[in-house]
Amino acid sequence: MANRIVVDNVEAGYGTVQVLHGVSVTVEAGETVVLLGSNGNGKSTLINCIMGIVRPKAGAIYLEADGERFDLVGRTPAQIVDLGITLVPEGRRLFPALTVEENLMLGAFRKEARARIEQNLETCFEAFPPLRERKTQQAGSMSGGEQQMLAIGRALMSEPKVLLIDEPSVGLAPILVSRVIAKIRELKERRDLTVLMAEQNFNQAIKIADRGYIIVHGEIAFEGKSAADLQDNDMVKQYYLGV
């Protein structure tokens, strides 16, 4: 199954502030692509454009799945989830007053995933055993790491083909960050996902990246064809390693 995401020359912003200036990114089927950049450079805006939360002013975004091409601009987030793209939003955005199980069930609104809710719940609990123990607990009462697991679990309930992850490391202790990153790799391999991850934490992100882009002031400043490519680059050093 080929699921490819193409972002072509997208311009977007909020009101009169333009954030993205002609950004082009592609994510090939089965790849893990990271979007690197510090705060305020447009990572989240780009992810939100793909998800239909922010509407681009110009440019095209499409999904190529099984030889068909779906234009994503102009679709609602719910319709985009129906196409098999799901977002793990920045800051997790759980439903704090609802239970862990209810949060997971809310990920299963997608029609194609409804029939297999029980199986998918089981898969989520297998991947994240603490969630099973806390099934009836309010989501807001869990620790940050558990909440991030729940956010990923909720996204998996829709059986996505493409997983967008926005800053999974936000607000987590360093040891939890590497655990979450390792989990993402494991799930990606087990469930044949295509992953686009926005992240500030270069050293962690690079561990699972096949490729990556560095985004600076709303433009793609550098495209790394491989993880090694990113690691050896002077610009990366300048921006991230401070040498």
Binding site: P77, L94, F95
Partner: protein, 325 residues
């Protein structure tokens, strides 16, 4: 909160209600009718206000449009009530759908203002519509019905059936996939969208159901008072009660508005007779202030807190026992 034997309880309530019409005097059915009317309004309001988190101040508009649907039908062809009630549901359901389309882009206080304005616009339309009596109002003449002790007893039984139906529908929505989606919208609308919840569709379902239910509550009103004019049909007390009852009972479940309506409705009917009918709004106001300040989650919230507290005490006691042993 799941109350296990819902249907047996509902059936028993209905049978007792019907039987009671033959034993008690008429006053109780007039009072009971008004309590049930409040119950349906509160249950309807709670679907949008409690489950979904959108505060509607225009309840009186939907209620009155239900009443005016009856007036129009009565004036035109005087059909039986089992035609009038679904007709009011359809008219007000469509009104709810339309209002939803126009106003659901607004959030928080702006949504509340828009719904309040809608009710005022509708009232102005009715005042200026000759066919339904305009500002003067319209009379409805009722005929006696067989089997029942009186027409009011008949209306009471109808209202009881409608109230049970409304509560059953709200209960179904509460526990279904739709209810879960509505709760997600209330908690965090953007997150709900990201998770793939079709937020617009669910919000429209909830405004439509709310409108239809309020229309049903208003449909029998003209037959009950036999005279309808805009000021009393669009009365503030209808809108305030629809908000106050769920707030007092607790908004997060279907049980809250039922408890709130039975409590507040009965208190109001009691004061009407024993103290003063003018003091009604004051009582609602004082109760509402009291609950918002002391029990913001309503009676249901208090009960849940109490249950959690007793559970904690029990566990603590068990812990002490094992420590001493």
């Amino acid at each position: 909160m799941r109350i296990a034997p819902f249907w047996p309880l509902a059936a028993a309530t209905f049978v007792i209600g019907v039987a009671a019409t033959f034993y008690f005097n008429e006053y109780y059915f007039v009072a009971g009718y008004l309590v049930l009317q409040g119950l349906i309004m509160a249950t309807a309001w709670n679907i949008l206000g409690g489950f979904t988190g959108y505060v509607n101040f225009g309840s009186a508009g939907f209620f009155a449009m239900g009443a005016y649907t009856s007036v129009v039908l009565y004036t035109a062809i005087n059909p039986p009530l089992f035609v009038v009630i679904p007709a009011a549901a359809v008219v007000c359901g469509l009104l709810g759908l339309g209002a939803g389309y126009l106003t659901l882009r607004l959030r928080g206080v702006y949504f509340a203002i828009a719904t309040l304005a809608m009710a005022i616009v509708l009232e102005t339309l009715m005042v200026n519509w000759e066919y339904v009596g305009g500002a003067i109002g319209a009379f409805i003449i009722t005929e006696d019905v067989p089997f029942f002790a009186s027409y009011n007893a008949y209306l009471f039984v109808l209202m009881l059936a409608l109230a049970i139906g409304s509560v059953a529908l709200a209960r179904y929505l509460n526990f279904s996939r739709i209810g879960r989606g509505l709760a997600a919208i209330r908690d965090d609308e953007v997150a709900a969208e990201c998770a793939g919840v079709p937020t617009l569709r669910l919000k429209l379902i909830s405004t439509t159901v709310m409108g239809a239910m309020m229309g049903v509550a208003g449909a029998l009103y003209p037959y009950f008072v036999t005279f309808v004019e805009p000021v009393s049909a669009f009365s503030l007390i209808v809108a305030v009660n629809a908000i106050a009852m769920p707030m007092i009972g607790g908004t997060s479940t279907w049980v809250g508005p039922v408890i709130g309506a039975l409590l507040l409705g009965s208190v109001q009917e009691w004061t009407k007779v024993n103290i003063s009918s003018e003091l009604n709004l004051l009582i609602v106001g004082v109760l509402l202030v009291g609950f918002v300040a002391l029990a913001p989650q309503g009676i249901v919230g208090l009960a849940q807190k109490f249950a959690a507290w007793t559970r904690e005490q029990r566990e603590k006691r068990r812990g002490d026992d094992s420590a001493t042993a």
